[in-house]
């Protein structure tokens, strides 16, 4: 691995040292980013868990009310009653930046704000259970919207954490050790060269002295 591609010169050594410094700093920054993302992620996960349970419970209740309603009324009547909804929802989406991850923030406006105005039918031919069902549906809807936001945030954060983790690991276990090894290799090679130069000079000096004074 080491010494395969590097030329042992002082210039390359300086370059490698610079790169090692950058890699170390990048590693530290990414590690901090990962830790902070993880902290945010755990909050989101907890929130998601609570919301998911609430939505599932709410929906199950709403569905069972609807089931009762549909048992009392004929399917045609039920369909007719709900054929043309009176309520409509408009969704707004903004983005929030969490550690350079853009996560959506939803806001919604309903056309009818009066809670008693949501029933798209007259009360004469429908059962009270249907009103109940719609009521529950309308209530659980807000939680559902919240759930969508939290769940999307969670997915996006998970992706970013995965990416950051890979980068941290790549720097920590591949890039930095490799650079260190190369630097060590070059340092040793340079020292060796220096030693051989010194030895050569000593040898030359000896020869020159012998020539001049005829030492034995």
């Amino acid at each position: 691995m080491a010494g395969t591609a590097v030329t042992p010169t002082r210039m390359v050594l300086n370059q490698l040292k610079g790169r090692l410094k950058t890699a170390r700093r990048g590693h530290k920054l990414l590690k901090d980013k990962r830790d902070e993302l993880m902290r945010q992620f755990m909050d989101v996960v907890k929130e998601n868990k609570v919301l998911r349970e609430r939505v599932e419970a709410g929906l199950t209740a709403a569905f069972s009310s609807l089931q009762v309603a549909s048992a009392i009324m004929s399917p045609e009547m039920l369909e007719q009653a709900l054929l043309y909804p009176r309520q409509s929802v408009e969704l707004g989406m903004k983005f929030k930046n969490i550690m350079s991850v853009n996560v959506p923030q939803y806001s919604f406006t309903t056309k009818n704000n009066d809670p008693s105005e949501i029933y798209p039918y007259g009360f004469a031919q429908t059962s009270g259970e249907l009103d109940d069902a719609l009521d529950r549906m309308a209530k659980v809807f807000e939680d559902m919207l919240q759930l969508a936001q939290v769940e999307k945030t969670m997915q996006l954060l998970a992706e970013e954490i995965e990416k950051t983790r890979r980068r941290v690991n790549a720097l920590e276990y591949v890039m930095i050790p490799e650079l260190e090894e190369n630097i060590k290799y070059i340092t040793m090679k340079l020292e060796e060269n220096e030693n051989s130069t010194k030895v050569r000079l000593l040898k030359v000096k000896e020869m020159v002295l012998q020539d001049a004074h005829n030492y034995a």
Binding site: N48, E56, F63, P85, E90, A133, M137, L156, E159
Partner: protein, 106 residues
């Protein structure tokens, strides 16, 4: 303005329609797949798509395509028969992806 859609069985979506969401009734997986593709087409303005778990479990591949993009959010909801736990599975998957292992312990 952005819209919200629900894909599910006819009985499931009818309630959502009444509270003002766009309903896409689908009785088979194929119909659901088609509905999902229509809703996520380029330039469509659906920001959230709720899909019934029963249908979603066969469309996992299609749903995963949108996991990393900021919109649309595709969220699983339980159907009439109650929760199958797929929604919680999505949560576990996300944790496992981020942490590398399941630390929730369930």
């Amino acid at each position: 303005m952005l819209k919200i859609a629900v894909i599910g069985g006819k009985d499931t979506v009818i309630g959502f329609k009444a509270v003002g969401l766009e309903a896409c009734p689908a009785s088979t997986v194929e119909e659901a797949r088609q509905a999902l593709r229509d809703l996520t087409k380029e330039g469509s303005d659906y920001a959230i798509i709720y899909i019934e778990e029963k249908l979603a479990q066969s469309l996992q591949h299609e749903i995963d395509r949108f996991k990393d993009s900021p919109a649309p959010a595709i969220i699983l909801i339980p159907g009439r028969e109650g929760s199958m736990g797929l929604g919680r599975q999505a949560l576990r998957d996300a944790v496992e992806r981020a942490v590398g292992t399941n630390i929730l312990g369930d």
